[in-house]
Homo-oligomer: 107 residues x 2
Protein backbone atom coordinates (compact mmCIF):
# COMPACT_ATOMS: atom_id res chain seq x y z
CA UNK A 1 0.00 0.00 0.00
CA UNK A 2 2.95 2.30 0.44
CA UNK A 3 4.83 3.89 -2.39
CA UNK A 4 7.57 1.76 -3.94
CA UNK A 5 11.07 3.12 -3.65
CA UNK A 6 12.46 5.47 -6.23
CA UNK A 7 15.10 2.97 -7.30
CA UNK A 8 12.57 0.29 -8.11
CA UNK A 9 10.40 2.73 -10.03
CA UNK A 10 13.44 3.93 -11.91
CA UNK A 11 14.16 0.35 -12.93
CA UNK A 12 10.54 -0.21 -13.81
CA UNK A 13 10.63 2.79 -16.05
CA UNK A 14 13.88 1.91 -17.78
CA UNK A 15 13.23 -1.78 -18.25
CA UNK A 16 9.52 -2.00 -18.97
CA UNK A 17 7.70 1.29 -19.39
CA UNK A 18 10.19 2.78 -21.76
CA UNK A 19 10.23 -0.42 -23.78
CA UNK A 20 6.50 -0.22 -24.45
CA UNK A 21 6.81 3.52 -25.01
CA UNK A 22 6.80 3.20 -28.78
CA UNK A 23 3.95 2.10 -31.00
CA UNK A 24 6.12 0.03 -33.28
CA UNK A 25 7.56 -1.91 -30.39
CA UNK A 26 4.06 -2.66 -29.16
CA UNK A 27 3.19 -3.93 -32.62
CA UNK A 28 6.29 -6.10 -32.63
CA UNK A 29 5.42 -7.56 -29.24
CA UNK A 30 1.94 -8.53 -30.38
CA UNK A 31 3.31 -10.00 -33.59
CA UNK A 32 5.76 -12.10 -31.60
CA UNK A 33 3.03 -13.18 -29.24
CA UNK A 34 1.10 -14.59 -32.15
CA UNK A 35 4.14 -16.62 -33.08
CA UNK A 36 7.93 -16.33 -33.10
CA UNK A 37 9.20 -14.63 -36.24
CA UNK A 38 12.47 -13.62 -37.78
CA UNK A 39 13.39 -10.03 -38.50
CA UNK A 40 12.47 -9.92 -42.16
CA UNK A 41 9.12 -11.57 -41.51
CA UNK A 42 8.35 -8.89 -38.93
CA UNK A 43 9.46 -6.17 -41.30
CA UNK A 44 7.16 -7.43 -44.03
CA UNK A 45 4.21 -8.11 -41.74
CA UNK A 46 4.35 -4.72 -40.05
CA UNK A 47 5.48 -2.83 -43.15
CA UNK A 48 8.57 -1.36 -41.55
CA UNK A 49 12.10 -1.13 -42.96
CA UNK A 50 14.31 -3.93 -41.75
CA UNK A 51 16.76 -1.66 -39.87
CA UNK A 52 13.85 -0.13 -37.99
CA UNK A 53 12.65 -3.53 -36.87
CA UNK A 54 16.16 -4.55 -35.91
CA UNK A 55 16.70 -1.45 -33.82
CA UNK A 56 13.46 -1.93 -31.93
CA UNK A 57 14.27 -5.57 -31.36
CA UNK A 58 17.61 -4.55 -29.91
CA UNK A 59 15.82 -2.33 -27.42
CA UNK A 60 13.56 -5.18 -26.40
CA UNK A 61 16.38 -7.71 -26.29
CA UNK A 62 18.58 -5.52 -24.10
CA UNK A 63 15.75 -5.49 -21.57
CA UNK A 64 15.34 -9.26 -21.87
CA UNK A 65 11.74 -8.90 -23.00
CA UNK A 66 12.37 -10.89 -26.17
CA UNK A 67 14.76 -13.73 -26.87
CA UNK A 68 16.74 -14.17 -30.06
CA UNK A 69 17.49 -17.60 -31.51
CA UNK A 70 19.71 -17.78 -34.52
CA UNK A 71 18.51 -20.31 -37.06
CA UNK A 72 20.97 -20.43 -39.89
CA UNK A 73 21.30 -16.99 -41.42
CA UNK A 74 18.06 -15.80 -39.84
CA UNK A 75 17.39 -14.75 -36.26
CA UNK A 76 14.09 -15.82 -34.80
CA UNK A 77 12.70 -13.69 -31.99
CA UNK A 78 10.13 -14.71 -29.41
CA UNK A 79 8.59 -13.22 -26.30
CA UNK A 80 10.51 -13.90 -23.12
CA UNK A 81 7.38 -13.75 -21.00
CA UNK A 82 3.80 -13.79 -22.29
CA UNK A 83 2.70 -11.77 -19.29
CA UNK A 84 3.98 -8.73 -21.10
CA UNK A 85 0.98 -9.18 -23.38
CA UNK A 86 -1.22 -9.50 -20.31
CA UNK A 87 0.04 -6.11 -19.23
CA UNK A 88 -0.72 -4.60 -22.61
CA UNK A 89 -4.15 -6.21 -22.74
CA UNK A 90 -4.94 -4.90 -19.29
CA UNK A 91 -3.96 -1.47 -20.52
CA UNK A 92 -6.24 -1.85 -23.53
CA UNK A 93 -9.14 -2.75 -21.27
CA UNK A 94 -8.35 0.22 -19.08
CA UNK A 95 -8.20 2.41 -22.17
CA UNK A 96 -11.59 1.22 -23.41
CA UNK A 97 -13.22 1.92 -20.06
CA UNK A 98 -11.50 5.26 -19.72
CA UNK A 99 -12.63 6.39 -23.15
CA UNK A 100 -16.14 5.25 -22.41
CA UNK A 101 -16.18 7.05 -19.08
CA UNK A 102 -14.92 10.17 -20.76
CA UNK A 103 -17.57 9.92 -23.47
CA UNK A 104 -20.50 9.54 -21.08
CA UNK A 105 -19.28 12.03 -18.50
CA UNK A 106 -18.62 15.11 -20.57
CA UNK A 107 -21.54 15.66 -22.95
Amino acid sequence: MSIPGTDELQLLHEQICQAVGDVKRIQILYALHEQPRHVSALAELLEMPQPTVSRHLTVLRERALVIADRQGPAVVYRLADPRLIDVLNLMRQLLRDTLERRATALP
Copy 2:
Protein backbone atom coordinates in the same frame (compact mmCIF):
# COMPACT_ATOMS: atom_id res chain seq x y z
CA MET B 1 -4.85 -13.88 -30.58
CA SER B 2 -4.40 -11.72 -33.64
CA ILE B 3 -2.59 -8.43 -33.65
CA PRO B 4 -4.67 -5.43 -32.60
CA GLY B 5 -5.14 -2.76 -35.22
CA THR B 6 -2.65 0.03 -35.60
CA ASP B 7 -5.20 2.64 -34.59
CA GLU B 8 -5.94 0.98 -31.28
CA LEU B 9 -2.26 0.54 -30.51
CA GLN B 10 -1.67 4.16 -31.39
CA LEU B 11 -4.34 5.16 -28.90
CA LEU B 12 -2.93 2.78 -26.32
CA HIS B 13 0.44 4.36 -26.72
CA GLU B 14 -0.77 7.95 -26.54
CA GLN B 15 -3.23 7.51 -23.71
CA ILE B 16 -1.59 5.00 -21.40
CA CYS B 17 1.94 3.99 -22.29
CA GLN B 18 3.21 7.49 -22.77
CA ALA B 19 1.57 8.56 -19.54
CA VAL B 20 3.52 6.00 -17.53
CA GLY B 21 6.62 6.77 -19.55
CA ASP B 22 8.10 9.02 -16.90
CA VAL B 23 9.38 8.03 -13.48
CA LYS B 24 7.90 11.03 -11.73
CA ARG B 25 4.47 10.33 -13.12
CA ILE B 26 4.71 6.77 -11.86
CA GLN B 27 5.62 8.10 -8.43
CA ILE B 28 2.66 10.45 -8.53
CA LEU B 29 0.30 7.63 -9.48
CA TYR B 30 1.44 5.50 -6.55
CA ALA B 31 1.18 8.45 -4.20
CA LEU B 32 -2.37 9.10 -5.35
CA HIS B 33 -3.22 5.44 -4.99
CA GLU B 34 -2.23 5.59 -1.37
CA GLN B 35 -4.65 8.46 -0.91
CA PRO B 36 -5.93 11.50 -2.80
CA ARG B 37 -3.66 14.49 -2.36
CA HIS B 38 -3.45 18.07 -3.47
CA VAL B 39 -0.65 19.43 -5.58
CA SER B 40 1.47 20.93 -2.83
CA ALA B 41 1.21 17.79 -0.73
CA LEU B 42 2.47 15.76 -3.67
CA ALA B 43 5.28 18.21 -4.27
CA GLU B 44 6.43 17.97 -0.68
CA LEU B 45 6.04 14.21 -0.42
CA LEU B 46 7.90 13.48 -3.63
CA GLU B 47 10.36 16.33 -3.25
CA MET B 48 9.57 17.90 -6.59
CA PRO B 49 9.00 21.57 -7.41
CA GLN B 50 5.33 22.45 -7.53
CA PRO B 51 5.32 23.38 -11.24
CA THR B 52 6.83 20.01 -12.09
CA VAL B 53 4.09 18.20 -10.22
CA SER B 54 1.46 20.36 -11.83
CA ARG B 55 2.76 19.69 -15.32
CA HIS B 56 2.81 15.94 -14.79
CA LEU B 57 -0.68 16.05 -13.33
CA THR B 58 -1.83 17.89 -16.42
CA VAL B 59 -0.50 15.08 -18.58
CA LEU B 60 -2.34 12.51 -16.47
CA ARG B 61 -5.52 14.56 -16.30
CA GLU B 62 -5.65 15.09 -20.08
CA ARG B 63 -5.66 11.33 -20.44
CA ALA B 64 -8.37 10.98 -17.80
CA LEU B 65 -6.12 8.82 -15.64
CA VAL B 66 -6.51 11.12 -12.66
CA ILE B 67 -9.41 13.31 -11.58
CA ALA B 68 -9.10 16.79 -10.14
CA ASP B 69 -11.48 18.08 -7.47
CA ARG B 70 -11.15 21.65 -6.43
CA GLN B 71 -11.52 22.12 -2.70
CA GLY B 72 -11.32 25.77 -1.96
CA PRO B 73 -8.04 27.15 -3.20
CA ALA B 74 -6.50 23.67 -3.40
CA VAL B 75 -7.00 21.01 -6.06
CA VAL B 76 -7.20 17.44 -4.85
CA TYR B 77 -6.23 14.76 -7.32
CA ARG B 78 -7.20 11.10 -7.20
CA LEU B 79 -6.81 8.07 -9.42
CA ALA B 80 -9.57 7.64 -11.97
CA ASP B 81 -9.17 3.87 -12.02
CA PRO B 82 -7.19 1.81 -9.50
CA ARG B 83 -6.50 -0.77 -12.20
CA LEU B 84 -3.76 1.51 -13.43
CA ILE B 85 -1.89 0.48 -10.30
CA ASP B 86 -2.67 -3.14 -11.09
CA VAL B 87 -0.97 -2.61 -14.43
CA LEU B 88 2.08 -1.09 -12.80
CA ASN B 89 2.24 -3.82 -10.18
CA LEU B 90 2.03 -6.47 -12.87
CA MET B 91 4.92 -4.76 -14.58
CA ARG B 92 6.89 -4.79 -11.34
CA GLN B 93 6.31 -8.50 -10.95
CA LEU B 94 7.36 -9.02 -14.54
CA LEU B 95 10.44 -6.93 -13.90
CA ARG B 96 11.43 -8.95 -10.84
CA ASP B 97 11.10 -12.23 -12.70
CA THR B 98 12.91 -10.89 -15.73
CA LEU B 99 15.83 -9.66 -13.67
CA GLU B 100 15.99 -12.96 -11.86
CA ARG B 101 15.93 -14.91 -15.11
CA ARG B 102 18.67 -12.73 -16.45
CA ALA B 103 20.75 -13.18 -13.31
CA THR B 104 20.55 -16.97 -13.29
CA ALA B 105 20.88 -17.45 -17.03
CA LEU B 106 23.97 -15.46 -17.89
CA PRO B 107 26.72 -16.15 -15.33
